[in-house]
């Protein structure tokens, strides 16, 4: 986790898989702990009778905000210490119900070059134990070129016209 071997843009190839990340099975206790941490008490995450009878949902939902933390962890674990997760976006296309085990996957979809560092395009998602994809998304992670300067911090986004 700490001070991994330095890596650079040249170390990755299109099609490479990122290390996957598994969470769960996620119980009501996990969801309540997350609700407490973020101080949001939306009942569809812990109150089963309300969720089913009032909201008409089939069970307690695993929070979208919870899943987005997992996505950020997957990407930052991979990018550190030398890369920077510049962008990530995802859609919550399907609901995940309490009790599911979530596996986050990602792979290198493309590589592009900016003048001072490289950009790795990543496609990613979250599947449950039944293989159902719920959260497709993409990300852009910046890495320095080999033997070149480290990334700027705070991160400075490249000019779109200069990305090849």
């Amino acid at each position: 986790m700490t001070s991994a071997k330095p890596r650079c843009f040249d170390d990755f190839a299109i099609g490479d898989d990122l290390p996957s990340l598994t969470k769960g099975p996620l119980s009501t206790i996990h969801l309540v702990r997350w609700s407490a941490a973020m101080e949001n008490w939306h009942r569809i995450h812990f109150d089963h009778p309300y969720t089913v009878e009032h909201e008409g949902l089939k069970g307690l939902l695993i929070n979208g905000t919870f899943k987005q933390q997992f996505i950020a962890q997957l990407l930052t674990d991979w990018a550190r210490p030398d890369g920077w997760v510049w962008k990530m976006n995802f859609q919550f296309r399907a609901m995940n119900i309490v009790g599911e085990r979530l596996t986050l996957w990602a792979r290198v979809a493309n590589k592009r070059q900016a003048p001072d560092f490289g950009l790795v395009d990543v496609e990613m998602g979250i599947v449950n134990e039944h293989g159902v994809e719920s959260t497709p998304g993409t990300a852009i992670v910046a890495f320095p070129y080999r033997h070149k300067q480290p990334l700027p911090y705070p991160f400075v986004a490249p000019v779109p016209a200069e990305i090849a």
Partner: protein, 172 residues
């Protein structure tokens, strides 16, 4: 509701709001344990956070630094006898969209741009705007997609992250 009514909210921007509390180690600990990401860079000085000035909060932590402030009305107690209260308690720096008041809400997804971390001890400033509002017919009926864009900055006014979140509102 009319399209005109909804469109009147697009572009509406909040004031800059300062987090009531700075990034605190105890809150970071609870947050990291909840998301099961106990990376040492979030709680102790080490090689990985040296370039960022020491321990930092997880990248999305600033978005959760705007909870209910001391002394403000308590929605849980105010709704203690309301069996239909949904429990939603996200921080409202923008006015509610009146035509969809009372609708049920689901999270549709987000786009996030990251530029820096919030360090322990730092406050964070937030400014939000309604960037898009559209109505769509879906398999489950007519729904309203509201996209909010929020900027989070440190006390030096460095942009830490920009988050565009789409919430989906549907009649109950």
């Amino acid at each position: 509701m009319s399209k005109l009514e909804l469109n009147s909210y697009i572009g509406l921007e909040s004031e800059v709001v300062r987090s009531e509390l700075p990034v605190e180690a105890s809150i970071v600990r609870r947050f990291c344990q909840a998301v099961m990401d106990e990376n040492p860079m979030y709680w102790t000085p080490n090689e990985d956070n040296r370039a960022y000035g020491g321990p930092v909060a997880p990248p999305l932590f600033p978005t959760f630094m705007f909870g209910r402030t001391f002394g403000s009305p308590d929605p849980i107690q105010l709704n203690a006898e309301n069996p239909g209260y949904d429990g939603l308690n996200f921080s409202r720096v923008l006015p509610d969209i009146e035509p969809i008041r009372g609708y049920a809400m689901l999270n549709g997804g987000s786009e996030v741009d990251f530029f820096g971390y919030a360090r322990h001890g730092e406050h964070v400033n937030r400014q939000a705007r309604y960037s898009n509002i559209v109505e769509r017919d879906t398999r489950k009926g007519r729904m309203v997609f509201v996209t909010t864009e929020s900027d989070f900055r440190n006390p030096r006014n460095d942009l830490l992250l920009r988050v565009r979140t789409t919430l989906i509102w549907r009649p109950q």
